[in-house]
Symmetry: C2
Subunit: 424 residues, 2 copies
Amino acid sequence: MTLSIEDPHMAHTPGRAELQTRFSAFKARGLAIDMTRGKPCAAQVALSDPMLDMPGVGGHTTAEGFDARNYYGSALGLLEARTLFATMLGAPPEQVAIANNSSLALMHDMVVYALLHGVLDGSQPWRAGPVKFLCPVPGYDRHFAICEAYGIEMVPVPMTGSGPDMAVVEALVRDPQVRGMWCVPMYSNPTGETYSPDVVERLARMKTGAPDFRLFWDNAYAVHHLTDTEHTLPNILERCSLAGHANRPLVFGSMSKITFAGGGLGLFASSPSNIRWYARHAGVRSIGPDKLNQLRHVRLLRDHAGLRAHMTKHRAIIAPKFALVEASLQRRIGGRGVATWSRPDGGYFVSLQVQDGCAARVVALARELGIALVPAGRTYPLGLDPRDSNLRLAPTFPELADIEAAMEGICLSILLASTEGRGA
Amino acid sequence: MTLSIEDPHMAHTPGRAELQTRFSAFKARGLAIDMTRGKPCAAQVALSDPMLDMPGVGGHTTAEGFDARNYYGSALGLLEARTLFATMLGAPPEQVAIANNSSLALMHDMVVYALLHGVLDGSQPWRAGPVKFLCPVPGYDRHFAICEAYGIEMVPVPMTGSGPDMAVVEALVRDPQVRGMWCVPMYSNPTGETYSPDVVERLARMKTGAPDFRLFWDNAYAVHHLTDTEHTLPNILERCSLAGHANRPLVFGSMSKITFAGGGLGLFASSPSNIRWYARHAGVRSIGPDKLNQLRHVRLLRDHAGLRAHMTKHRAIIAPKFALVEASLQRRIGGRGVATWSRPDGGYFVSLQVQDGCAARVVALARELGIALVPAGRTYPLGLDPRDSNLRLAPTFPELADIEAAMEGICLSILLASTEGRGA
């Protein structure tokens, strides 16, 4: 299938009967394509195949001279791994901790430690009273799932295209029950937007009702550029420190979309005090993380330049997939008033806004066509999108031909849904 | 140094002045030997060196046909890993979950889930009221540290030589605030004893005040035999199930003293309902464990017979170290009324009972000699040994020559402490 603008199926605005005919014909193709999760494709994980026989027999000694096959003291990981990821996390190595897969587990554990022990600057464990988190929406479903599991009330905050609406945030954080906020500050999941310097500065400076308020700064896509327009972000640790809120940010990073998904490392950076706080609690949980997997990462990526070079290879594999999604959306439904969508410069998702009340219907129709989309609403707290209009597309895993077919089916589903009188 | 019974230093019972002379001479040797933790030696971890280049480039496909480099669905681990460890854990593969390093982390997380969510058979999260755990003593300090961190009151229970004193246990568990009990049922840490069939049966059958009481069954040394007298244990899952308490036992296992310490796997087995409970909560914490490390373990050990063969190699390395400790204790302080000690058939420790009030002094004296022992009391809740009499020796890590020297210094310290009028 070509990408010609002259696609005969789309040269006119089709009527409902024609759409239904096409829908039946598409259904008969019996496709099975998964566009649900931000999952790397086989070519992406293969970029890290050298790790499969690392560190190699005889290669178990760390730069510090320790035997990585055995126990030794630090709950914070190998110094060489902390050094490797320092630039990416924006912190000196001594303010970096390296944990096992996954960063989500790290965030979960921080929430648990906060609930049961409390955090620095606070007078008691969070569980002593009601706890609320600000949740920029649409956002990452697994962040919201942690809040839901632990009874943390989620307060949605609209995204603006350059981060969360700060007037709303600044008003809400005056509530002392608001103890945390989920942030994916660069190439946000799913909208792809990056927080502006002004947003970051206001997050660093804002007055919070809770003295122990924490930014859960999940910088999952810090080096995941898709174009030459590489987004940048002010250093949240520095900004908060200068604003007198050094312990406010908890910065997370992940190797799951850099090396092996589910076989990577969880990364954490924060103030010196917060690192000690983490080490104290993590040290009760475990003697320490798997050091051999840290060695594998150090030997594969070597330094920040090596990490960037590795990410360029990822870009070469997945940028064409995002381009295909964009071209397909533009050609099939562009200018028809049925949807708008993000054109991300990085990250893992395309966020699609369909007409109000149509998202769940589009997912159901696509399912009939053999195309799995993440359930509508999943990008909202408790799975409830009040306008039922956001869809998240994850184009990294399928092959190009499957993406092309999926986009045809998804656009068909959007057009059909929009004829059903569900739209605004 | 030979092991001759005719050691001239010990042929008579030395007086205090002679002991002090010897102590000064020993101190001048400037030794630095660590006998603190149950840490494998280099030769032991080297037994798993083939894992250092596993699974190898191209070797990432699981028996089920999944790509272990990427995400896929189960929070419970690879079926082939669950199958490998089923026999060791005494459960069918579907009742086994494989997690990242370490089993301690798994136990910690279960405590956290119980505190914040509650467990099956209970009506509310444990944190809703005071929680107590029974702690057989002497026991494992890291178990006690979890309780201490989360404000769980620890109730000591004396060990008898064949497990905890069940009359005491049966009386204490009638208290509905008693929700858990730490058990290292085979080659217990540190006493080396194995729970008798009668003890296991009574633990399975006993009436508990709390309907959601849990046995934290840390079978850390299930295959860690040191002699041909291989201890066995009734199957706690079966016994509890037959007694109508299927959800009572949470069975844990660890690879840290089988393959790589801190680079192994945490293992869990329980009732089908408890496995679902675990998967639900662990699934919020993480998308799933590191599957590549599971593959490494499957490829190295293959099956239960392979695991047993691997443990035979461990035994060949460490059994002589335990024999040296035993011979040295016997020759240097045997029959003098200053100490008794365990002669373990498995596990990682020798437990030493010195005269009441002497343990901390022995540790301090040994430290002067350059011998690091775990702080006295560490094997008791909150680090408080009421009789100040228990010492834990960990002979696996040092080389034989160092163990011989360390035992000389430790025995000297014991003899000297016993002359100081601290004894009973």
